[in-house]
């Protein structure tokens, strides 16, 4: 009774790990949000697929655990890393203390890694990863995290910067950061990482405030040392002999 929780990375085959690929090949059943199962279905067409809608996360996890209990090898697929805002935590919660279903978490490239690589090297030093979605987190807590990260001169990666239901959250987050950081702070946005239509832009924190982001964007805010080299966003580690 084996249940893999697999981070498939940004979504293209190239950015999956060898280990994720092998686990998917040996699976009987692949479970996931339909956007993610649609990404892997062309690569593994002969599997049984089970999907649910967007906000049905717990149902999806129960479905995966139930299938594994039938003796099948099951993979739950997540975009990015399966641990970082992924389904691994919820799978453990749903499965509970009974370890008869063996859970194996297979990591994948989270957007901090894959999006950072598109921009250059924005995360060469300490950083914080913060989601702007308040569906499961109070906004006041998100505000504290943004403020503290800026005060500590951490580079910051923002996941879920905007959605239809919260069009002004990126601007609100930038206003908090602008209370601490200079408006010229170098920032970068990557859209559709590793997928068709991938694009990226560098801009100042002031420009980011009014940027038209969407749910397919990942946002990077540099630390005090971050600068533009050629067309890339680079945070130096601090080597003294360059």
């Amino acid at each position: 009774m084996k249940l893999y929780v697999i981070g498939i990375g940004p979504g293209n085959y190239e950015n999956m790990t060898v280990r994720a690929d092998r686990a998917l090949r040996e699976s009987d059943t692949i479970v996931g949000y339909h956007v993610y199962t649609d990404l892997v279905r062309p690569i593994y067409p002969d599997k049984e697929y089970l999907t649910t809608g967007m906000t049905r996360e717990a149902d999806r996890c129960r479905m995966a655990v139930e299938e594994a209990k039938k003796g099948k090898t099951v993979s739950m697929v997540c975009s990015g890393d399966s641990g970082i805002y992924g389904m691994a935590g919820l799978i453990y919660e749903v499965r509970g203390e009974d370890e008869s279903v063996e859970v194996e978490v297979i990591p994948g490239l989270t957007a901090a890694c894959s999006g950072g690589a598109v921009l250059g090297a924005p995360l060469t030093h300490d950083f914080a990863v913060i989601s702007l979605s308040d569906r499961l987190t109070e906004w006041s807590k998100i505000e504290t995290r943004l403020h503290n990260a800026a005060e500590a001169d951490l580079s910051i990666v923002l996941y879920n910067p905007k959605s239809k239901g919260r069009p002004d959250y990126l601007a609100k987050a930038c206003d908090i950061l602008l209370g601490v950081l200079n408006e010229d702070r170098l920032c970068g946005v990557v859209r559709n990482i590793g997928r068709e239509g991938q694009s990226h832009e560098l801009m100042t924190l002031r420009e980011l405030r009014d940027y038209d982001a969407d749910m397919f964007c990942t946002v990077f805010i540099g630390n005090a040392m971050t600068r533009r080299i050629g067309s890339s966003m680079v945070t130096p580690r601090g080597y003294r002999d360059v």
Copy 2:
């Protein structure tokens, strides 16, 4: 004139991405710290290898840029992600504004992803990544980052928790965290991620303070919601229908 900066992940072939594998196969020359080149040499034995010692990072990057300028396809290999504390930033600094050598950063699994997966799902919510090495960073800055991350209830991942030259840094870091967090806060340590002798342990923050870590350890400190489920460390995302 192509220069790949490749994150090979924790070190075993299974945890490399398909893209990293392809780039290494098409390279003429592979450059890196000898510990990392030794990890890939058995997989790609027919390449030219160039290495330098541990603190010769800038020399290593200059070597890679010079080889690329000769018209070779060159890969600089880094453990984990090539951006996160990796060589990507320094490669851009050494290459400078002249983009005739094309740099392509190929991301890999950083220890936050690969180590988190070993423990379960400690990073399902917002988190900070902080290195305890003060070789290139003032200790006072590291202290501020630890304090602010704890105040903001971020999960925290500590890279480079200890080395021979700084045997007491993990204890010093824990003392700062214990000024904010309860001593029962759930923590986890993973040693030799993805390599021979991989092991992991869960413990309290109080126990972590006196834990005998080394440079092959990555340390995870949970947030206020993190708990043990079965033998795993799990930070819930906050789904209300579990």
